[in-house]
Structure formats: C-alpha cells, structure tokens
C-alpha cells in the first residue's frame, strides 16, 4: 500500500511538472530518406536474373538490412541533434520500409551519418519490439544477436541445396563485428528549410557488393550464416555498395 501511495504522488508530481515545462522548439523540417537498390546502375527487380561482375548468374529474392543512428551532418558545425536512437529494418520487398522520415533542424548539410546493423549495447537489451522484434526474422537465437543484413536468392553456380544463396551476415563482437558507423556524402549542399520536406535518396549498387574490397564469387561463397571473419569481410563489401547521397531538390 505504501508503494501504491508513493506511486500516486509520483504520478501527480510528474503531471504537474509536465504541465509547467516549456515546449521544446522541435524540429524544423522532415527529411525523407529513401533507400534504393541498383544493379549495373538500374533499379534491381526481385526474382529477376542478373549477372554479377564476374559473369555469374543470380537472382535476389530477399534483401534486408538494419539502419540506425541516422543524423545529418551540417556544414557549419556537425550534428545539431543527437542521432535518432531508432533502428529501421529496410526490406526491399516492402516498399514502405524503404522510406524513413527523420525530423531535422534547419541548415545546410552535405553528409549523413548512419549505422549498418545493431551496436553491442542495443544487441544486449533483452526482449525488444518494433523493428527489433525477433518475429522479423533477423535475430539469431543460438548466438544472441541481430543480423546486420540478409541477402537471399538463387544462382546456378551455388553449391547449396536448390542452388540457394544465403548471406545472413551478423556478429557484433570484436574482432568480427559487422556493425559499421559511416558517413555518406552528397556532391551538392542539401538546404533544409522550414517550408519543404527534403527528399534524399541513398542508393546501394549491388555490383559493388560482389566486386567489393573482398571479391565475392558465388561459386566460392554461396552462403555465410555465422558470425566470423567471412561475415566481417562481406559486411565490408556491403558498406562499399553505398555509393553516396543523391539529393533531388523539391520542385
């Protein structure tokens, strides 16, 4: 009973406090980030046959990754707000998931920082929900942790059952972390003002995933489903497939 009474007081206190608090000036505008997936410079169509830079035929049926800690970097002094703590599961078979709305402050920016995958603190928070709900199929149950990205498909040169491709890439522990914090730049200054929503495209080019810092020949590696050195290498390829920012000023 004592606890209940004290909780009552706490609640009343909080209600009073919040009514006296000044309103936060809030964000000035909304930046809409749109992730898009390309192959040979053209939008990738799921379940369609392509050739990778090594001439190997493949098709992609599933392509997902986690993006988080997103924030624009302003030309006049870096970050203006703390990066959003939210994580987003980008899934190219669900077009709604490829758009992220980010509240931003006004100013000029030419870079955006973000993180691929879930960092070690957020990996060990126990049962989570939303984008991190294990029902999303991105959580490893026997070696707790969220995968950073998942690419599935088929290729005639794959030696897996049914010629499957399964790149389930994760791991957040040193030295084989697949979590990367990095910046993407735009060749133009992005001006954020109160009037407009800003649309920024973040393209991924699959050619660079195959022909990346660690050339990925499907014939040699058609699956990777555990954390380790290979997963780490393929994550290096993945971030090299982000080619920069494309900003289309609103009409």
């Amino acid at each position: 009973m004592l606890l209940k009474t004290s909780s009552l007081f706490t609640m009343v206190f909080f209600l009073l406090m919040t009514s006296f608090q000044k309103a936060d000036p809030g964000p000035d505008s909304t930046m809409i980030l749109h992730f898009s997936l390309y192959v040979h410079g053209a939008p990738l169509v799921l379940n369609k046959k392509y050739k990778n830079p090594f001439g190997e035929i493949f098709e992609i049926s599933r392509f997902r990754f986690y993006a988080g800690k997103i924030a624009p970097i302003y030309t006049d002094g870096g970050l203006k707000t703390n990066p959003s703590s939210a994580y987003h599961l980008i899934d190219f078979s669900d077009s709604a998931s490829t758009h992220i709305e980010l509240p931003v402050k006004g100013g000029s920016c030419n870079e955006i920082q973000f993180q691929l995958g879930i960092d070690s603190i957020d990996q060990s928070r126990g049962a989570q929900t939303g984008a991190l709900d294990p029902v999303k199929g991105m959580f490893w149950t026997w070696n707790s942790g969220y995968q950073s990205f998942k690419i599935e498909g088929v290729s005639p040169v794959s030696d897996q059952p049914s010629h499957m491709l399964a790149y389930h890439i994760g791991g957040y522990r040193y030295p084989y972390s697949t979590v990367w914090k990095f910046k993407l730049s735009s060749d133009r200054i992005i001006r954020i003002s109160k009037e407009d929503k800003i649309l920024v495209e973040i393209p991924l080019e699959l050619d660079y995933f195959f022909d990346g810092p660690n050339p990925l020949h499907i014939k040699e590696i058609s699956a990777c489903t555990t954390p380790g050195e290979l997963a780490r290498k393929l994550s290096e390829n993945f971030i090299s497939s982000f080619t920069g920012l494309t900003h289309t000023p609103s009409p």
């Binding site: 606890l3 209940k4 909780s7 009552l8 609640m11 909080f14 209600l15 919040t18 009514s19 608090q21 309103a23 990996q123 060990s124 928070r125 126990g126 049962a127 989570q128 929900t129 709900d133 294990p134 029902v135 959580f139 149950t141 026997w142 070696n143 707790s144 942790g145 791991g171 522990r173 084989y176 555990t226 954390p227 380790g228 050195e229």
Partner: protein
C-alpha cells in the same frame, strides 16, 4: 504533452492494479545481474511466466513445454537424460542444465551464446530439435486462448500479446528461480553444522575445486577446457562456436554445483553418469590439448578418501525446499515428490 498525460494516466491505473513482488537477494549472494530493469517484477507477471513455462502450447505439437526438459524435481534439469527429447523424436544437442540463480548470469548456455536472460527462450522455442515452433504461431495460439489475453492485459497494463511480452513474462519466472536454502547455506548462516565427513569434504573442495566452482554460486561463470575430448558425433567445440576464435575451442561454461546430486548426467553432453566418474576424469582422464585449462595440465589428484569426503560435501548442496517449492511448480499439477514413472 497531452500524449504524456494520457500515458501516465494509464500507467497510474496499471500501477494500482499490479501487485509488486520484490526480488530478495539471498544473504551472502552478490547483487544479481538481472534486476528486472524494464520488466518490473509483479505477482501477475511471475504467474504468467510460470503458466507459459509449463504450457505445451509453446511447442509445435503441444508436447514440449519448457518444463519437459526442465523438471522441478531435477532442479529444472532433465532427469537421468544425457540429452533431452524434443519434437519429432529428435534429441537435443547438449545436456539440459538445471535452472536456478539465473538472475546472476549475464550469459547463458554451455557456450555462453545467449547474451540476456530475456532472449534465452527463443533458442529452445525455435530449435527444430526442441520445441520446434514459430513465434507467430505461438502468438496466434496464445491470442486464441481463453485465459491468456486477459493475463497479458493484467500484467502489462494494456491488451496485446507479442514476442516481447511473452519473453518478459518468462523472464519474470525464470529469473525468480532462486536456490539458496541448502544445508551448505544454513551452515553459512549459522543455522546448521556440517558433520565430520561434510566438513572434511568442504576443506578438500576449497583446495581442489573452488578455483572454478566459486562460492556462493559454485561457478565462476567462466568458460574452460576441462580436458574432455569432442564427441565424434556431436562435434561440439563449445565457446568457439560463438566467438569464432581458436583460443575458445573446447571451452564450456563452468556449471554450478548447487543441486549437483539432482542434475546427473554431467558434462555438456551428459557423458558422465555419476559424480564419481566426473571426479575420476579430473584424477586420471584429462585429455591434453592446446586450450586445456592451465590448472588442469597435470589433472587434479583425487584419492579414494578425497572422493568419499567430496561427495559427502556435495550432498549438502541439494536444495530440497527449492525442488518442493509450490511457487515454482506446475500451476495445474502442483509439486511432484518423485520423478513420474513414465518419465522415459
């Protein structure tokens, strides 16, 4: 602002409704790792977790509740089984450990692959050799149940069943399984005395075993290679599976020796049937390998006499009030005094 007001309003009524259920740290125990942060322990949450733990609905064919491999009369290990039975006549990959004092463990499983108590159940729930179920199926079954929707509502203060709520409720139960009322504990509290055999055994234990099996949890929670060759069929290299590091080959979690009389067979693959066999392994059976624990290079000399006294002492680590505590028992069946006849 308005939203905050509404949320606090709901929170207020919920706080009035749930029954707080404070967690008591046993005397002499360190502070637990899991302190029910973001999962405030309540009578409702504990009871919901307990019901889920004993409910076959969480498994694909209904036959494998958590309690099928974690039996209270065996201190929540699987009684007399090297490996446990799972869905479709499959055997599990490792020996099921007893479940107690889990709130003190940051990592779980023989290889430490689990990084938080709340996500542990995902491993057996989804493993095709164990409960073999799918999360969405479980959520669907619970939503269609007569009792669960109301129980989740009462526990979490709003309607809805999702994976997070299932896992948090299970953690309320499993983190509450505290075993700290053995004869050893009573001796430590000054309420009982070891007999002469137990006393001598405790002294030998402190010299020869306590380096890894540290009091009061009787494990230092580290991973060590104790000179057990990998089984040729299981090919289990322990911690290396998690870290990918060669240095971790054949390392397994040091198990607690609390309730050790009840948790046989022993070892990560249950290869030792009796405590005597385990002691003999340390005496003469250590297999040399590069990652062997440095303290075991020459084995541990355990004489016939040592063995007798050690076993006398280990008997004082059995917590009979824990295995008969009605709070932890099957809410439908109550406490079982003895293993049921149809156990196999």
């Amino acid at each position: 602002m308005k939203k905050f007001g509404i949320i606090s309003g709901i929170g207020f009524f919920w706080v009035m409704w749930i029954t707080p259920f404070p967690f008591e740290v046993p005397k002499g125990f360190p502070p637990p790792v899991y302190q029910f942060q973001h999962n405030p322990r309540s009578k409702q949450g504990f009871e919901l977790g307990r019901k889920l733990f004993y409910d076959g609905k969480l498994s694909r064919d209904g036959n494998f509740p958590c309690s099928s491999c974690h039996q209270q009369f065996a201190a929540f290990a699987t009684y007399e089984h090297r490996l446990s039975h799972g869905f479709n006549n499959k055997l599990s990959f490792r020996n099921a450990p007893g479940l107690f004092n889990l709130a003190w463990e940051q990592e779980m499983h023989w290889d430490g692959g689990i990084n938080h108590i709340e996500v542990q159940p995902l491993a057996p729930l989804l493993d095709p050799h164990e409960m073999a179920e799918d999360l969405n199926q479980i959520i669907g079954k619970l939503k269609n149940d007569r009792a669960y929707p109301a129980l989740f509502n009462q526990t979490f203060g709003s309607p809805g069943i999702n994976s997070q709520r299932i896992l948090k409720a299970l953690a309320q139960f499993t983190a509450s399984l505290v075993s700290a009322d053995t004869k050893y504990d009573r001796v430590k509290r000054g309420e009982a005395q070891f007999n002469q055999y137990e006393k001598t055994g405790f002294e030998i234990f402190q010299q020869k075993c306590a380096r890894c099996h540290q009091e009061p949890l009787f494990t230092d929670l580290s991973y060590r290679n104790t000179g057990m060759e990998a089984d040729s069929t299981l090919k289990d290299y322990g911690r290396m599976r998690i870290t990918g590091r060669k240095e971790d080959s054949l390392k397994f979690r040091v198990p607690s020796l609390r309730n050790v009389f009840l948790t046989f067979p022993y070892g990560h693959d249950g290869r030792f049937t009796t405590i005597s066999e385990v002691l003999e392994h340390y005496n003469t059976g250590i297999v040399q390998s590069p990652t062997l624990d440095s303290s075991l290079r020459k084995g541990i000399t355990i004489t016939e006499n040592d063995r007798f006294y050690l076993i006398s002492f280990l008997g004082t680590l059995t917590d009979s009030s824990f295995i008969k505590n009605p709070l932890y028992s099957d809410p439908q069946m109550g406490v079982r005094d003895l293993p049921p006849e149809d156990i196999h």
